[in-house]
């Protein structure tokens, strides 16, 4: 009797896992460890020699007002983005669940935003928010909400630029969050919804007392995904405002890029990038534990 390689289950399993492991080690684990190491060193693009400097980079960053601004923006943008995303995603999920004509077209269009790479989407938004050519301005002008000769200059003013960054993040996160939440809503047994109808609950009561509490675990997962994606994203700020006006819209991820890649100070850039890691880890653990507690069925 002879057996082929394919009969050796252990071997086959390892062989098939190999590409994934190589990928993760090369593109995630190595840069991750290197970034942490760099953040404690004085490595720059011009002088790659590794010298241990302890917490110097973190101290220097902390004293930099732009870093503090970026840190605050990261929190602020993420919080507002997630809040808006969850509300909108719930509405979209309910719309997806409802039956109406042309439903698949709407689904397709909403999901399109999700399948578009963030940078590409941001480039489209650069045009949408252009200081002279903005179609949004044109619409506002046609509606009589804006004088014909005036412009919003979305990306040029601090408040509007921040709102724009948040708006684009929400635009790109809602589809994913809606799909996650819709899966949660579909998982509610039909009997529960029927029982609520028999018990006399109208739409709002059912939403607040049945649908939302029962989808809380998946909403938490959507929050977690959304928060991680928003905190770690540099492309939207980079493409949309590049931190303008005067670093008012800078976030940690984009500031790390400016410092480390544009400025060549790899060590300080790494320190900026790694700064939020402990916090993100703690938040992730907290949310996942809450999800487990909420999973009541």
């Amino acid at each position: 009797m002879s057996t082929g390689l394919a009969d050796r289950e252990g071997f086959l399993a390892r062989l098939m896992l190999l590409p994934a492991i190589v990928y993760i080690v090369a593109l995630v684990a190595v840069p991750f460890v290197v970034a942490i190491a760099y953040s404690f060193s004085d490595v720059t693009a011009g002088n790659p020699g590794f010298d241990w400097v302890g917490l110097d980079n973190y101290r220097a960053n902390w004293e930099d007002p732009v870093f503090r601004r970026a840190l605050w923006n990261t929190f602020f943008f993420t919080a507002v983005t997630i809040a808006l995303t969850i509300v909108l995603a719930n509405i979209v999920a309910l719309l997806f669940a409802a039956d109406f004509r042309g439903k698949w077209v709407v689904r397709f269009l909403v999901l399109l935003a999700w399948t578009t790479p963030a940078a590409l989407g941001a480039i489209a938004w650069v045009f949408m928010l252009d200081s002279l050519l903005s179609p949004i301005d044109w619409i506002l002008q046609q509606l009589g909400l804006l004088d014909d000769q005036r412009h919003m200059v979305w990306l040029g003013k601090s408040g509007l630029a921040k709102a724009s960054v948040i708006g684009v993040q929400v635009w790109r996160l809602v589809p994913l969050a809606a799909v996650i939440i819709m899966a949660g809503q579909t998982a509610i047994p039909d009997d529960i919804n029927d029982a609520a109808a028999m018990d006399g609950a109208g739409f709002w009561r059912r939403l607040w007392e049945v649908t939302l509490p029962l989808t809380r675990p998946v909403i938490a997962v959507a929050v977690l995904f959304g928060a991680i994606v928003t905190v770690t994203d540099m492309s939207v700020v980079r493409v949309l405002t590049n931190g303008a006006p005067v670093n008012q819209t800078q976030v940690l991820a984009s500031w790390a890029y400016v410092k480390g890649i544009d400025g060549g100070n790899l060590a300080q850039g790494a320190a900026v990038a790694v700064f939020l890691l402990p916090l993100l880890l703690a938040a992730t653990v907290a949310i996942l534990r809450a999800v487990r507690r909420w999973e009541v069925t």
């Binding site: 047994p189 009997d191 529960i192 029927d194 029982a195 609520a196 109808a197 028999m198 018990d199 006399g200 609950a201 109208g202 009561r205 007392e209 049945v210 509490p213 029962l214 809380r216 009541v296 069925t297």
Partner: protein, 347 residues
């Protein structure tokens, strides 16, 4: 007396279905009665119940509750309550919150809600469990919570959809008693759906036997059992089912427990029919003997089952042929073509 629920020509055709799930059903409950819808799975009984509840809109026909046409009205205005097969308790709410939910939807003030929830909980023996969540309850307790939630609004009709099928056999017998006892105390008209003939026979004031969306027979359990309207009802009810034997121009039927060995009744009795059974196999079940064999003398030789009660001690061996008698009154006749029952033996 007011009729609680009435359906007139009620029909449901699902999109893509080739025949109606419910086909022109006319039913009327009597006040306070326990009406059981019985039929094999897929016979349309649950769809019928859901149309009465308002969870499903009929394709044709009328639903009347308390004399009022309720077609198109949402469930909450129909003054009915439903207990689901899965109980459908809200998993994130405590027992108390589950029971109070229908009252909350009615916007009752909280002290009244509390009072009525406690009344319902006491009636169903749930007082000690009010702060638990459904997952901390046993199957029987969950069922009682579902009943309490249905009861608390004091509906004019209860709809129960296979409420016992999620319980194990032992618990089911207990829960059946509980349900019947509950009905005795509240006296509310109840429509009960089941595919289990034991539940139907034991609990129903009247049984509605359904097949393929149509009502085949309506009547008290004993009448349906003794005088089945057609061969389907005859074989669906009873365990073992009614024996059917092809005669010359008619189908002859008899219940397995109606036949007795000839010597038990003695010779020469009037109004009795004598026949013989070639015994192939004997099963000994709960003290009774079930004789499987080939019957001769009633029509074409046909495999039948005879059920001898434990009190009949006549020795009978496998492989022998034995004479049996049946009272003429216990024979049932069905039309060969329509399979509907004849009143008397047709010529």
């Amino acid at each position: 007396m007011a009729v609680a629920v009435e359906t007139v020509g009620l029909t449901k055709l699902f999109a893509g279905g080739d025949r109606p799930a419910v086909d022109h059903v006319d039913l009327a409950t009597e006040e306070g009665e326990y009406l059981v819808l019985l039929g094999p799975s897929g016979c349309g009984k649950t769809t019928l119940l859901r149309m009465i509840a308002g969870l499903e809109q009929p394709s044709e026909g009328e639903v009347r509750i308390g004399g009022t046409l309720v077609n198109g009205l949402p469930p909450r205005v129909r003054r009915i309550a439903m207990v689901f097969q899965s109980y459908a308790l809200y998993p994130h709410k405590t027992v108390r919150q589950n029971i109070e939910f229908p009252l909350k939807a009615q916007r009752l003030p909280s002290d009244e809600r509390r009072q009525r929830a406690e009344w319902a909980a006491e009636l169903l023996g749930l007082t000690g469990l009010l702060d638990r969540r459904p997952r901390q309850l046993s199957g029987g307790e969950r069922q009682r919570v579902a009943l309490a939630r249905a009861l608390v609004r004091e509906p004019s009709v209860f709809l129960l959809d296979e409420p016992l099928s999620n319980l194990d056999a032992k618990l089911r017998a207990l829960a059946r008693d509980d349900l019947k006892d509950f009905h005795k105390r509240v006296g509310t008209t109840t429509i009960y759906v089941t595919h289990d003939q034991v539940e139907a026979m034991g609990m129903g004031d009247r049984i509605v036997v359904m097949l393929d969306g149509q009502v085949r027979q309506v009547g008290p359990p004993q009448a349906v059992y003794e005088h089945p309207a057609d061969t389907f009802v005859a074989t669906f009810l009873g365990s073992p089912p009614m024996n059917l034997i092809q005669g010359d121009d008619v189908i002859v039927g008899f219940r397995p427990e109606k036949a007795l060995p000839a010597e038990v009744l003695g010779e020469g009795l009037d109004g009795h029919h004598r026949w013989s059974l070639e015994v192939h196999r004997i099963e000994y079940l709960s003290g009774d003997r079930h004789l499987h064999g080939l019957a001769a003398g009633l029509g074409k030789p046909t495999p039948v089952i005879v059920r001898l009660p434990a009190t009949v001690l006549t020795p009978i061996e496998t492989g022998t042929t034995h004479d049996f008698v049946l009272r003429e009154d216990d024979l049932r006749y069905f039309d060969i073509d329509t399979e509907r029952a004849h009143e008397h033996r047709a010529g």
